[in-house]
Structure formats: structure tokens, C-alpha cells
């Protein structure tokens, strides 16, 4: 079956611009996660959705970052007034329920964001 998909695969923008990154989770998965991975580092948690609501947004670095999941499937990560330090690969993952210690997260291929 189809896995997690993310668009665009690459995004180049200028400092100060607004960007939106999209994630399509595996069909039927209720939990959705966003992570950010900088070069040479492991992924860093940003936000977790259970259905339509953000159950944990403690990883968002500041108020320039915002994410939505209005219908409980597709999610959009929005970054305002981008800075060069926002350059990274943004990974999305989904899991069947999000409510079990054995729930496995499946990752998409990521969006590589470059802020010039």
C-alpha cells in the first residue's frame, strides 16, 4: 500500500518568506508527527497530532512555526518569516493509533528546505 508522502521534495526560499510543507499520512492512521533533521543529526520532534488536534506541540521552536491537520488526514507545516537556520529536512511520520506503546511510526521521504 502507499506509504507516507510529502511534498515538495525540495523547497528553496529566501530569508523572510513564508513556506508550507505538506504531509499525506498512510490511509487510516490517526496519529501524525513532524520532525526536523539537520545535517549530521538525528530527527528532532516538532509536533504530534491525534486526529485533528495537536496533542503535543512542545517541539515547535518558536511561534513562526505552525501546523494544522483540519480533516484528520493531510497535515501542513507552516513556517513564517523563514530564517537561514530553518534549513533542514522536514520529516513527517504517521502511526495507526498513537495511543499504544507498541505503535510504530512510519516516515515519509521528507522535504529538504533551503533558506537562502
Amino acid at each position: 500500500g502507499a506509504g507516507v508522502s510529502q511534498t515538495p521534495s525540495n523547497k528553496v526560499t529566501e530569508k523572510g518568506k513564508y513556506v508550507e510543507l505538506r504531509c499525506d499520512p498512510i490511509s487510516g492512521h490517526t496519529a501524525l508527527y513532524w520532525y526536523r533533521q539537520s545535517l549530521g543529526q538525528g530527527p528532532e520532534f516538532l509536533i504530534y497530532f491525534q486526529g485533528t488536534g495537536a496533542a503535543d506541540d512542545s517541539g515547535l521552536p518558536n511561534d513562526r512555526f505552525f501546523a494544522v491537520r483540519p480533516e484528520g488526514s493531510v497535515s501542513t507545516l507552516k513556517i513564517q518569516r523563514t530564517e537561514r537556520g530553518d534549513s533542514a529536512v522536514y520529516l513527517c511520520a504517521s502511526s495507526p493509533t498513537g495511543g499504544s506503546s507498541t505503535d510504530t511510526q512510519y516516515f515519509g521521504p521528507g522535504t529538504r528546505l533551503t533558506v537562502l
Binding site: 507516507v4 520532525y35 504530534y48 512542545s58 510504530t104 511510526q105 512510519y106 521521504p109
Partner: protein, 112 residues
């Protein structure tokens, strides 16, 4: 703050060798430890180890969890060039929902 430390950071071996990758952790209210393989961008799931499942095996890959000494190892036997990747270790705790806390990864290169 939870910590996940992986070692070595990078490793080069010849095809056919056996490798052992290490992951040590400090986690409040430990829930699970996971291993992922990252070749290009998407990390792919390998194993999940919890209190009720401290040893897992799949083909040439195996992993154990030592909850007393707070570490896990990932073993790969008879390595192949297709095993070349970054191997990521992550932990979850009961306090932070189901967010994965990753280490920096071990970059493995298997040469022919």
C-alpha cells in the same frame, strides 16, 4: 532531559563482516527503544524493544535491550553493501507522549 548516545558515529567494514552498533540512553519513565535505518531520507523501521520484548531478530539483523545498564545493541551479520546507511536509535518515555527522541545515528559504510 532525555539523552540518547550512539557509537560509533561512523564505521567502515568489508562485505561479510559482522558489525555491532551501540545505543546508550538516559530516559525518565522509559517506554520503548526503536531502531531505524536511514538510506536517503525516510527512516525505515527495524525494531522496537520494550520491557516485554528485549530481544528481536529479523534475518541478519538482531537487537537486544539491557534495561539495567541502559543500552541497546544492533547486530548485523554477513554485511552486504545494501546495509550501508545511517542507523538511528530512538527512545520514548511516558511523559512526552509518543514523540521519538533520536540519537545522532551511526553511519555505516560496507565496502565490496
Amino acid at each position: 532531559e532525555d539523552k540518547v548516545v550512539q557509537s560509533p558515529l561512523s564505521l567502515v567494514v568489508h562485505e561479510g563482516d559482522t558489525v555491532t552498533l551501540n545505543c546508550s540512553y538516559e530516559v525518565t519513565n522509559f517506554r520503548s527503544l526503536l531502531w531505524y535505518k536511514q538510506e536517503k531520507k525516510a527512516p525505515t523501521f527495524l525494531f522496537m524493544l520494550t520491557s516485554s520484548g528485549i530481544e528481536k531478530k529479523s534475518g541478519r539483523l538482531s537487537s537486544i535491550l539491557d534495561k539495567k545498564e541502559l543500552f541497546s545493541i544492533l547486530n548485523i551479520t554477513a554485511t552486504q553493501t545494501g546495509d550501508s546507511a545511517v542507523y538511528l536509535c530512538a527512545v520514548t518515555n511516558s511523559n512526552s507522549g509518543y514523540a521519538l527522541n533520536f540519537g545522532k545515528g551511526t553511519s555505516l559504510l560496507v565496502t565490496p
